[in-house]
């Protein structure tokens, strides 16, 4: 946050690469432009259109959940031998998407990447909503979600306690910690901007609401000093946290003995995949939104290109993991491991496997070309392909590993039911619904951090 003064050699580079903010802005215009989206400007028709669609889809989710709670999880397609399917695929998919938000807000902050400034608020919001969607799946998969608190240790009349040696318990702690810390990080980042909105709002109602949310922030130098310390510490805490969360999610599989799950490469493989999927989702969302709200001056071509490069890099890590997975299965000399890979290549779900390879390993290679990286439409299409690919990856890992394990007599096939699909698509609707509400009522770009990257923000020491 406090990289107002760039290194001297950065100035040289600035002329070659696009800027992180277009020239001609000052503290006032940056403030007005971002706060106007919330306070002054008319909500664009595109917002109402998106809101209506996502509201309808969210209602489908509500119907599904109601039916699920009244009937039981038998309405889903998973049954022996495939006990885990859409519920876990979608959980892992959503959690993974969330990881890019933390990466942008925390890890890039520690690496002093100033370009993160205009996308971090948005990406953090995306994290929160993705974690909310993810949490629904295991919660409802318990079958009796009203007893979900049994997962936490508390003195109870049943005289029992949870099994802390189980990766599923680790998951409960990891995901709830992740959700809580992401929410704290997000709220802390919003406090100074709430104060800005409080001072700009015209209606009494919004003055009071934003005033309460700002906690009486007044921009005191002493407050800023402690604030910056907190922000940096939270970034330092969130960085190992985000790596631990997907590591623990991968333990849900790796600690078991199922061929296709029991692999030591899982933690780094899952973390890379999570960041890959997350950046695809950030690109998928920012490219249309910056256009819709005319924010091209703040979210510039440089942001899009940098994110595309990160997507390409993590995509290569994921492709490497696929190769290692295959190699290990062959090198193990273990009949079950070898069959697992053979079944992926040539089994009944082979078309999904090869589609996955196309989506995650082949298609993103077009990002090597400069012309593709300079086309927002092309990057947007690649992001969709990657999002689909990452979902397929979890499908291949979960049901395809389960449907044929050790005993051929217990093999089976899996197919999702209608309710599986409505539940999955419903969470996508809920995600967009929350995101659109966020864009409407909160500043989607961190205003105070944008002020710090303006050239005027620099203290001229020779005069001071």
């Amino acid at each position: 946050m406090s990289q107002r003064v760039d290194e001297p050699h950065d100035d040289m580079r600035m002329h070659i690469t696009a800027p992180v903010i277009e020239p001609g802005y000052d503290f006032g215009t940056v403030t007005d432009k971002i706060s106007a989206i919330v306070l002054r400007r008319r909500t664009p028709p595109g917002w109402f259109f998106g809101f209506s669609i996502s509201f309808i889809i969210t209602m489908i989710l509500m119907v599904t959940i109601t039916h699920l709670v009244l009937t039981g999880i038998g309405i889903w397609g998973n049954n022996q031998p495939v006990g885990w399917s859409f519920d876990i695929i979608n959980f892992v998919w959503w959690i993974g998407i969330g990881h890019a938000g933390t990466l942008i807000s925390a890890i890039l902050l520690l690496f002093r990447q100033t370009w993160r400034t205009s996308i971090n608020r948005f990406a953090e919001a995306m994290t929160l909503f993705a974690v909310a969607c993810a949490g629904l799946f295991p919660l409802l998969h318990t079958g009796r979600p009203w007893l979900a608190y049994w997962l936490f240790p508390y003195p109870n009349t049943m005289g029992i306690q949870p099994q802390f040696r189980s990766p599923l318990m680790w998951d409960v702690f990891a995901v709830s910690t992740y959700g809580t810390v992401s929410a704290l990080f997000w709220f802390i980042g919003l406090i100074p901007d709430f104060a800005t909105l409080r001072d700009r709002a015209k209606s009494r109602f919004f003055q009071v609401v934003y005033g309460m949310l700002s906690l009486g922030w007044r921009g005191s130098a002493r407050h800023w000093f402690r604030y910056e310390t907190t922000y940096l510490l939270l970034a330092g805490l969130a960085t190992p946290l985000v790596l631990s969360v997907h590591t623990i999610v991968s333990f849900d599989f790796a600690v078991s003995v199922i061929p296709g799950w029991h692999a030591t490469i899982f933690p780094p493989y899952f973390v890379a995949g999570a960041i890959y999927a997350g950046f695809a989702m950030v690109l998928l969302l920012t490219i249309p939104i910056r256009k819709l709200y005319g924010l091209e001056d703040f979210i510039t071509g440089r942001h899009i290109r940098n994110m595309a490069k990160i997507m390409l890099a993590t995509g290569l890590l994921v492709a490497y993991s696929y190769m290692v997975e295959t190699f290990t299965a062959w090198y193990s000399g273990n009949a079950y491991e070898e069959y697992m890979i053979f079944n992926r290549f040539k089994g009944p779900y082979m078309w999904l496997y090869w589609l996955l390879i196309f989506c995650n390993a082949v298609a993103p290679q077009v990002l090597w070309f400069r012309r593709v990286r300079h086309s927002n439409v092309a990057i947007w299409i690649v992001s969709i392909i990657v999002s689909v690919g990452m979902w397929l990856e979890r499908f291949i890992i979960i049901p395809v590993s389960l449907h044929r394990d050790f005993l051929p007599s217990s093999w089976g096939m899996y197919a999702p039911t209608l309710w599986d699909w409505t539940m999955f698509i419903g969470t996508i609707g809920m995600f967009f619904l929350l995101l659109l509400l966020f864009i409407r009522f909160l500043p989607m770009i961190s205003i105070f951090e944008m002020r710090t990257i303006l050239p005027q923000a620099e203290i001229r020491e020779e005069e001071a």
Partner: protein
């Protein structure tokens, strides 16, 4: 927003348009011997908190202690549950199986440290604080937009209404006004 019938002077507030000017002014004020001073800016300025003589906080220590306590609590929770409260003998494996306790210990460390950071910062900053005398200046709304403010409180031992006003005027502000409590 006056709370009493006889308004008392909280201090003098000088408004600046440029970050460098407010840092220079804050340094001059500190050199002049004023200590009950504060500066307000729309974004964090490292030099500004240094200029008013504020460059240490115990927050990192609070976070460290919070993290350590969280980690210990997380570990001992699992230790207590699995060794004393609800021991389960599975295949003769040890009850105190510490490697399996590490992930939750780690998560508890992070959670407690993050809570200490956030609530420690709010407590040290005395937030939430809906009312503060500086808000009495209507122009102070610009402190969250593009203006910078320097305040010398009336309870500063060196404070003298006329002299301090003259001193602040000499620093080249946009204007200097009295702030009432």
């Amino acid at each position: 927003m006056k709370r009493s019938k006889i308004p008392q002077l909280y201090g003098l507030m000088a408004e600046f348009e440029d970050p460098t000017d407010v840092v220079t002014a804050a340094r001059r004020t500190y050199e002049e011997g004023y200590r009950r001073i504060n500066a307000y800016s729309p974004y964090p300025i490292e030099e500004l908190s240094e200029a008013i003589g504020f460059h240490r906080t115990i927050l990192p220590l609070i976070v460290l202690i919070g993290g350590i306590l969280g980690g210990l609590a997380g570990y001992f929770l699992q230790f207590y549950v699995h060794v004393f409260d609800y021991p389960l003998n599975i295949g003769g494996k040890p009850l105190h199986s510490w490697p399996a306790f590490i992930p939750i210990t780690f998560e508890c460390t992070i959670l407690a440290a993050a809570f200490s950071a956030v609530f420690g910062m709010l407590a040290l900053n005395k937030l939430p604080q809906p009312y503060h005398p500086v808000f009495n200046n209507p122009r102070f709304a610009l402190a969250t937009r593009d203006r910078f403010f320097l305040v010398i409180e009336a309870r500063d031992p060196k404070f003298n209404h006329e002299e301090t006003t003259r001193f602040l005027q000499s620093l080249g502000p946009y204007e200097v006004i009295d702030v009432e409590t």
